[in-house]
């Protein structure tokens, strides 16, 4: 195994923030979009 690094995308706090933050960012974006009021009908 020498010379091979089985990399996580990140490690430690950054790893945790990505695992939690990525889905949260998607959720927040979609929530903002779904709560937006549509254009008023003419």
């Amino acid at each position: 195994m020498d010379g091979v690094t089985f990399a996580h995308i990140a490690s430690g706090p950054l790893d945790a923030l990505i695992e939690l933050g990525l889905p949260l960012a998607v959720f927040a974006g979609l929530y903002w979009w779904s709560s937006r009021k549509g254009r008023p009908k003419p």
Binding site: V4, F6, I9, E19, L22, F27, W33, S34
Partner: protein
């Protein structure tokens, strides 16, 4: 610990199965929240299509995460630690004295399995299944708080015991300093 499956050449996703599964589960939770919101709005005769579509998008993304997790993501099991453990920082100073103290503890308790260089080739390692991992490779992949947790509590399903009752907190953090120095001198 369990060795990774497959060959490194097969790795496409720079993320472990555990990470992808966790992301997939959170996306699935989000999809369920949107489904509930869409149902509530539909029930109240309010616009419900956008939350429903959002739920569908999150569900689809969740499916993608699970498919990636069980196809291209490598399986490097990360034994669970409390969420806050990843953010714990080593209170012992990074000094030669702390590393030397850690080394003394390592040689007394850890060397028999992990080996003098941390390569997982100690005298007792060959009797173990799973074998101890190469610390020089795996230590840099994890936060110091995770190492501290595994040293303190042990690793279920392996021969790694918890040292909480044997070693003081300072001694365990000094051990973390030492295994980090082992990895750095690889």
């Amino acid at each position: 610990m369990v060795e990774p499956e497959g060959t490194p050449e097969a790795v496409i996703l720079p993320m472990t199965r555990d990470s992808a599964v966790q992301i997939g589960l959170l996306l699935l939770a989000g999809a369920l929240v949107f489904a509930g919101l869409a149902f509530y709005r539909w029930y109240r005769r309010r616009p419900w299509r956008r939350p429903a579509l959002s739920g569908g998008v999150m569900g689809a993304l969740s499916l993608v995460a699970f498919v990636l997790a069980f196809t291209v993501a490598i399986n490097v099991p990360t034994y669970p630690v409390p969420f806050t453990a990843r953010f714990a920082t080593n209170p012992t100073p990074n000094t030669p004295e702390a590393v030397a103290q850690g080394k003394a503890t390592y040689e007394r308790l850890c060397l028999v399995c992990h080996g003098a260089r941390g390569a997982g080739d100690g005298p007792a390692a060959f009797t173990m299944n799973p074998r101890p991992l190469d610390l020089r490779i795996h230590v840099p992949l994890h936060a110091e708080g995770e190492h501290f947790h595994w040293i303190s509590e042990g690793i279920p399903g392996t021969a790694m015991p918890g040292w909480r009752s044997t070693l003081s907190e300072t001694e365990r953090w000094q051990l973390v300093r030492y295994i980090q120095s082992l990895a750095a001198t690889r």
